[in-house]
Every structure is written in structure tokens, then in C-alpha cells.
């Protein structure tokens, strides 16, 4: 007996997880409500006094200095954090000093610590009378109240981002890679530079991006150590708070929008560069 076959019907591919469609819809709804809607409001708010006014507020020397400081410090701090984070991850994974488990747990402390607590602690330590600040002041270095102080705070909060992205990659690197390089005649230094470091680059780039993004917006841990002198150590998020306290919502939103756009561009750049890394060739992601 011949069975009549319906033409043009493909068998339906079953969804990977049960209820994928409602889950997808719900997720989209929440993302829209919690993320996109506020962002849209942020994008809309600054223009209420007109574009020329906005341009004028955003280009005052004080605003420009604050933006330059925030992005500059975040960039420098992310670079330092990436180096330190790599070193820490290396020690934790390869050297395993006594008490490394304790150290491993401590790495996450900045994640858990309320940023204000971190800020006060750092400010106390680095103040000209503090445990670290006093000896440095004796040598003629000032940390608190300068951009360097801001950098110190940003390194502190950014470190776990780098360590936590690099550590698992380092752990999963097959030992055979190093052994293969050794049988081919490479010395320890050459193995580290030519084999291990390039393999870690994508993770380092991600860690850098995360630390940078966190650094640009960091508020609580910075304001105590920064001293907040306009034009010298006043960060952009603080300026937003100041504008808000002056009831200048449009101005605050303007700075916020500018930071958002710049940070998004920076992250996009990192992602693009990361994709161009040799270690990512032929690999999805």
C-alpha cells in the first residue's frame, strides 16, 4: 500500500531543552524590561535641553578631565592587573606554594567585599599616615589623592577578573604542549614565551576587558582614596553623582551616556582584537 506523503513538510526538529520557546520569550522580556528600557531612558534623557547645550556641558574642562581620568586610569589599571593576574594565576596553578588554597580563596575577596569597605581600607592604608602611605610619603611618593591612588584601587577590584579568567585556561592547557616543545629543543623561557603565553592570550584579553569595564564604572572603592579634587582626581562616576545632587539630570545622563558608549566601544575593540589572535584561528568564539 502506498502512503500519501505530504509535500514540502520537513520533520520538526525537536528543541534542545523542553520549553525552549517560552524560556526564550521570558528571557527576552526580562532583558528588555531590566536592561534595554533603562538604557533607552538613559539615551533619551540628555537631549531634553537640546544638542548644543549637551555638547557644551560635556566639553567643559572639568567633565573632560573626569572622563580622561576615568578611562585613562581604567586602562592603565587593567594593563597592570592583567600582568599581576597572570603572575598570580601562574603561581596558584604551577608553583602551588604552601597555603595556595588559602590564597586561591582570598583572590575572590574583592568580589565579595562591599566596595565602600574596600575604599575605606585602601584609603587608610595609603593615606600619608597609613601603613603603606607613610613609608612611601617618606620617599616622596603620594598615593592617596592622586591618579595613582585611583589606579591602586582599580587594580584591587580588577584582579579577580583576570585571575578567574586565566586560571581555568592555564589549568586546562595540556602538559603535552610543554613536553612537545621540550623534545623539540626549547628552553624553559622559550616554552613560556612561545607556547604558553600565546595560548593564554585570549583569556588575558577577556580578563583585561572585564577589569577595564569594571574600572571605568568603579565608584565606591575609588572615591575614598582619590581625594576627588576637580581636574586632578575627580572620576566621571563621581561627577555624575555631583550633577545629580545639583538636580541636573540631563547633565548626569549625558556623562552616563558618553561613558556607556565609550566603554561599549572599548569592549568591542577588545573582542575584535581577541578574535584576531592566532590562538583563536579556526576556533569558534
Amino acid at each position: 500500500m502506498r502512503v500519501a506523503l505530504a509535500a514540502g513538510r520537513r520533520p520538526r526538529t525537536p528543541a534542545i531543552i523542553p520549553g525552549a520557546l517560552p524560556a526564550f520569550g521570558l528571557t527576552l522580556f526580562w532583558v528588555g524590561l531590566l536592561v534595554l528600557l533603562p538604557l533607552a531612558a538613559l539615551a533619551e534623557r540628555p537631549w531634553e535641553n537640546g544638542a548644543p547645550w549637551l555638547l557644551a556641558t560635556l566639553t567643559t574642562p572639568r567633565t573632560l578631565a573626569a572622563l580622561r581620568l576615568s578611562f585613562g586610569c581604567a586602562l592603565c589599571a587593567a594593563a597592570v592587573t592583567t600582568l599581576l593576574g597572570l603572575l598570580l594565576a601562574w603561581v596558584l596553578e604551577r608553583v602551588r606554594p604552601p597555603g595556595w588554597r588559602m590564597l586561591d580563596a582570598l583572590i575572590d575577596l574583592p568580589f565579595a567585599l562591599p566596595t565602600a569597605v574596600a575604599g575605606i581600607t585602601l584609603a587608610t592604608l595609603y593615606a600619608p599616615t597609613g601603613w603603606i602611605g607613610a613609608p612611601l610619603a617618606g620617599l616622596g611618593f603620594r598615593i592617596a589623592g592622586t591618579p595613582v591612588g585611583i589606579g591602586v584601587a582599580l587594580v584591587f577590584v580588577g584582579l579577580p577578573f583576570v585571575v578567574r579568567t586565566v586560571l581555568p585556561v592555564l589549568r586546562d592547557l595540556p602538559g603535552e604542549l610543554e613536553e612537545a616543545a621540550a623534545t623539540l629543543g626549547a628552553r624553559r623561557g622559550q616554552i613560556a614565551l612561545r607556547v604558553l603565553l600565546p595560548a593564554l592570550f585570549p583569556a588575558l584579553a577577556t580578563g583585561f576587558g572585564l577589569a577595564f569595564a569594571r574600572g571605568v564604572g568603579e565608584y565606591g572603592s575609588v572615591i575614598f582614596i582619590a581625594g576627588n579634587k576637580p581636574m586632578v582626581s575627580e572620576i566621571a562616576p563621581l561627577l555624575i553623582v555631583i550633577r545629580l545632587s545639583e538636580d541636573d539630570y540631563a547633565g548626569a545622563a549625558g556623562i552616563g551616556l558618553l561613558m556607556l558608549v565609550t566603554a561599549a566601544l572599548c569592549l568591542m575593540l577588545v573582542t575584535l582584537l581577541r578574535r584576531r589572535l592566532p590562538a583563536m584561528r579556526g576556533v569558534a568564539g
Partner: protein
């Protein structure tokens, strides 16, 4: 260059991974290290490469004692099971690695390195892939690139750790034949680790059978087949069927369930005692019994390619003792239920005490569950 191992032992914690192995590989030989997993074959290979710390004994490559020499100065080529290609380097850069990391005085110039790389890639037949990255290659191609990389520094010795393990069976067969050809053409000395006895039998000049860290036997494939030193060697190199027998006053007699089955047996070994008869399932003769003759019972027959697969037991009641034998399909078939005469004269004899893992008489044992 040849390899000389003397009294090599290696402990993993408290468990010995390699126990007191001495062997020598003459220049130009292709040696296969075989054994079940955990036999210590990879450990032994890593000791030769200098990748395994904490061993005792002496390793010489050529005329040089390399016991204290680190891996990077042993001038060996090592191909890893998972190839261990550098993901962030193109195929060409992978192959060039060994030349680029040389100290400045011994490093060839750029042009010479490029020439050597393309020559090697041609040699392993992946010349068109120089600019690709490892993630863009198939398993067989990665295998060839790993080999080219290992050969780039003109090693005296090529060490291969289960290099075909991750390949599909067809590619596997092709690439191992090709590898053997390459070995001969380049005049290499090669040591291959594999758990696949067929692979070893096909490519190697000599085979070293390892078990529990000990060297069970080393010899040519023909030697191991004709005169296996232990039942384990016999069993590992192919399927076997075992029978217990008793040797007494110059005559041999089957024991246990098979005692009453009249079978043609090989000449008895000197001395008295328990003996294990180990025989390939296709080397047992099966014939229709003469009227009145004792025999074994045919339980079933099944066609299997060019062979007939017989299930034979001492009697219908003793089905648990059944063994499977292979007989060329061209011979006249015996029907199920009939009696048959067994010819076990091709069996190898081992004193029973030789086998620390005594097998039940008349149970077919394949290398896999050994």
C-alpha cells in the same frame, strides 16, 4: 641511532610502573612496545624521551649515555597521542618551531627554515596546508603535521605514543603503512607504543610485550607467534583457546571436563606436571569422528566470513565449557549435534605455574579482557 636501556625501573608513588627493563634497539629498527593499558609502555617511552622524572637505570641513545640529559638535548622526535600541536601557530610555524628555538649560532636562516618546512610538509603530503591552523585540520592531517614537526630537527630517534589512536580505522591502516615506508626511506630508528597488537604485528620489525611494568618477551612477530615465552604473550597477540592438560611419563592427557574427549595432542614436554595448552581458534583441526571413536559435541555452527564458527563442548551437558573454533568454510561442514575429533597438535605448551592468571580450561580468551 640505536637505543640501549639498562635496568630501567620507575615508581609512581609506591606502585612500580616499570620494573627492571633492559632492552636494546639496533639502529634502523622499528620496535613496537605493546601491552594492555597500565603495562608501563608509555612510561618507558617517556623515560627514553627524558620526559619522565624519577627513574633508575641507564638510557643510551647511540653511543651517548643520556640518563642525565634533559629532553631538549636528547635530539629525539616525539609524536604524542593527541598530537600536541601548537594551536596558535600555523602548520608551517609548528613545523619550524624546533628550528626557530635553536640557539642563534646553530639556527638556520629564515630562507633555510622555510625551505626545510616546505620540504617536510611535502614529505608528509600536506604541502598545501602550510598556512592553515591546527583547528582547521582533520585528524589524519594533524597526525602528519605532528610527524613533520618531530622530524624537523633531524632526530636520531623517533618515538611515537599511540599515534594512531584517535584516527578512524581506514585512515589508521593507511597512515601506518605509510609511516613504515617513511621509516625505511629516512633510515630512522623508531619506537612505537600501541595497545593494538595487529598494528604492532603489521609495522614493527620486533615487538616488546610488556605486562605490569615487566618485559614479558621481545622478538620478531614470527618469533612471538612460534615460540611465545608465556601464555600472556600468546594471548595478547591474538585470540586463544586454552586447555588444561597433565604431562606424565612422556605422555600428555587433557584434564578436567575435556578429559574424556579424545584429542590429538602435541608431543609431551619433558618432566611431569600440569600443562596449559594454548591454541589459536583457527589452528584447531576438526574432523568427523569414526564410528565408536570418542569426540566433542558440536553445539552450533555459524558462518563468519571465510570461516565457519563452531561452538564445541565436551558434551551437551557441559555447555558451560564450550569453546569457539574457526574452521575454513571450504572444509566439509559438521552438523550441530554431531561428534567431532579435535586436533590440538598446533597448541603451544606452558607449564601451568607460568600463568599467574590461570584461566578456566577451555575458555576462549581474547587480548581485550586479558
Amino acid at each position: 641511532m640505536g637505543v640501549e636501556l639498562r635496568d630501567i625501573s620507575c615508581l609512581f608513588g609506591r606502585t612500580p610502573a616499570v620494573r627492571d627493563i633492559s632492552l636494546s634497539v639496533p639502529e634502523g629498527e622499528f620496535l613496537a612496545l605493546v601491552g594492555p593499558s597500565g603495562a608501563g609502555k608509555t612510561t618507558l617511552l617517556r623515560i627514553i624521551a627524558g620526559l619522565q622524572p624519577g627513574y633508575t637505570g641507564h638510557v643510551a641513545i647511540g653511543t651517548r649515555d643520556v640518563t642525565q640529559v634533559p629532553a631538549r638535548q636528547r635530539n629525539i622526535g616525539f609524536v604524542f597521542q593527541n598530537y600536541a600541536l601548537f594551536r596558535h601557530m600555523s602548520v608551517a610555524d609548528n613545523v619550524a618551531f624546533g628550528l626557530k628555538v635553536r640557539p642563534y649560532r646553530r639556527r638556520p636562516n629564515r630562507a633555510a627554515i622555510a625551505a626545510r618546512v616546505s620540504e617536510l610538509l611535502e614529505l608528509v603530503q600536506v604541502g598545501a596546508l602550510a598556512k592553515r591552523y591546527p583547528a582547521q585540520l582533520s585528524g589524519g592531517q594533524r597526525q602528519r603535521v605532528a610527524l613533520a614537526r618531530a622530524l624537523a630537527t633531524e632526530p636520531e630517534l623517533l618515538l611515537l605514543d599511540e599515534p594512531f589512536g584517535a584516527l578512524d580505522p581506514l585512515v589508521r591502516k593507511e597512515i601506518r603503512t605509510w609511516l613504515r615506508g617513511l621509516h625505511d626511506r629516512l633510515g630512522l630508528t623508531s619506537i612505537l607504543v600501541t595497545h593494538d597488537q595487529d598494528e604492532a604485528l603489521e609495522v614493527a620489525d620486533r615487538i616488546a610485550v610488556l605486562r605490569d611494568g615487566r618485559l614479558e618477551q621481545i622478538g620478531t612477530p614470527a618469533m612471538l607467534e612460534d615460540a611465545p615465552a608465556t601464555p600472556f604473550v600468546h594471548r595478547f597477540l591474538g585470540e586463544t583457546v586454552g586447555f588444561q592438560a597433565m604431562s606424565q611419563a612422556g605422555s600428555l592427557r587433557l584434564e578436567g571436563a575435556w578429559r574424556s574427549v579424545g584429542a590429538t595432542l602435541p608431543p609431551a614436554p619433558p618432566g611431569a606436571g600440569s600443562v596449559l595448552l594454548s591454541v589459536r581458534p583457527y589452528a584447531v583441526g576438526l574432523a568427523q569422528t569414526q564410528p565408536g571413536q570418542e569426540g566433542a559435541r558440536v553445539l552450533g555452527v555459524q558462518r563468519s566470513g571465510a570461516f565457519l564458527r563452531y561452538r564445541i563442548a565436551p558434551s551437551e551437558a557441559l555447555e558451560a565449557e564450550a569453546v569457539t573454533l574457526l574452521v575454513p568454510a571450504s572444509l566439509p561442514a559438521l552438523s550441530p549435534g554431531s561428534l567431532c575429533a579435535l586436533d590440538l597438535s598446533a597448541a603451544r605448551l606452558f607449564p601451568s605455574a607460568d600463568d599467574p592468571m590461570p584461566q578456566k580450561a577451555g575458555r576462549a580468551v581474547s587480548a581485550v579482557d586479558a
